[in-house]
Symmetry: C2
Subunit: 225 residues, 2 copies
Amino acid sequence: MSMHVTVGPAALTPFLAAEPVQASTGPQILRPFARIKRWPRDQDIVYQGNSADDWYCVISGACRQYMVRPDGRRRIVDILLPGDFFGFTVETAHRFAVQAIAADTIVASYSRSQIEAAADADPLVARAIRERTISTIARLQEHLLVVGTMTAAEKVRAFLSNMFDRLPNRRGSGITLPVSRYDIADQLGISAETVSRAITELRVLGTIHLGSPRNLQTIEPRYLD
Amino acid sequence: MSMHVTVGPAALTPFLAAEPVQASTGPQILRPFARIKRWPRDQDIVYQGNSADDWYCVISGACRQYMVRPDGRRRIVDILLPGDFFGFTVETAHRFAVQAIAADTIVASYSRSQIEAAADADPLVARAIRERTISTIARLQEHLLVVGTMTAAEKVRAFLSNMFDRLPNRRGSGITLPVSRYDIADQLGISAETVSRAITELRVLGTIHLGSPRNLQTIEPRYLD
DNA sequence: CGTGTATTTGAACCGCCTCAATCCCTGTGG
DNA sequence: CCACAGGGATTGAGGCGGTTCAAATACACG
């Protein structure tokens, strides 16, 4: 079964020297398979328990991947920004729901069976998918590190810093947070009030500068890590 | 470069109906590439900052994937059990260290470039890797959910439940926890004392039964989720 | 320009962390 | 097989940080 094929170095593309994600289209090589759809704010893109037949890529806007616990608490496991993939599951059903955070969020969806067939036929497709799954792992691990942090202020600072790096910062006027304090709270596992207090604290300390509650102008490089 | 091979439906294996991991060898199809190595307890398998040239699979024993923060705190981002892969990175260097928890932990390593070349040549190899990356995502998301839980007792209960499902339970005599209270604490983001108190609480409540501190005989099915 | 929602602030309570001491398993050597 | 040593686990007391409930303020959208 295993084929000991000798493959020259020329066949190796540098790992994860992937083309930057075209924010408007998703990965180039998967474009032929993409079904583009636009979603209103707070609309459900994937329901918990949905059959996991598709993979997705955020094109613009933002999404939250989450689960609502029986006690009513919402746990956000991933904030998805343009270029981020989601929908990779081990089970045949989605364990988490995904919904648009921003108005007019654009998401590409791909038939899993179709993409997998394409991956079988074209190693470059397989590599593109592999890169995305590995990026997802990196994102989750980073988040895990943040959530594990002790103090609330440090959690919030790390979260904001992460957003600052991932979101476009045009003309140096800072970023626009796509998420509410409640979203931040549910992702960090703390209360919204504590998020607010932490942000106030960071502002007073001069660690961050806000233009408005959703506009983060500057943030000091991490002093912990 | 890309090989547009036409592959009929017969060539498609059902997604993630993968063969169960041979605990003694790792995935069958990757076996020809595996370099097997045995590690003593607390020995470093991967150092933080190491060049990420290899992927790994735990064959037997257990590992912790972690980072030590500047303040000296250790954050464990993943507990790796037989069948679990690690070493998937976006960067060219490992962001986390990995070390053996159990004595005589056996780990298979694979040259990343070699495996990627094999994946390019054989879609089944590519699928095997994809399955492992997706399993890693599932494990991290599960963990994220647990860490985000509010009370310490529930975190510990979820952790133990998770271990109970993942570890072999021979003759119904329960599982042997490969990790110390400190490991559990560092993974859940709480103190070791709190872990101990939570375990005592769960035992008093009858939620769990311990044969010894490391032997978990029974655990009630999750009442939350 | 007004209304509804998001955000901020306040006060009291509770749970977890910290520091410390004790107990008890486990593995080693006699 | 037993005694002992050493690390792991448990328990205790006190303080702090975060949650909760509640209210005021600020922002964004129509």
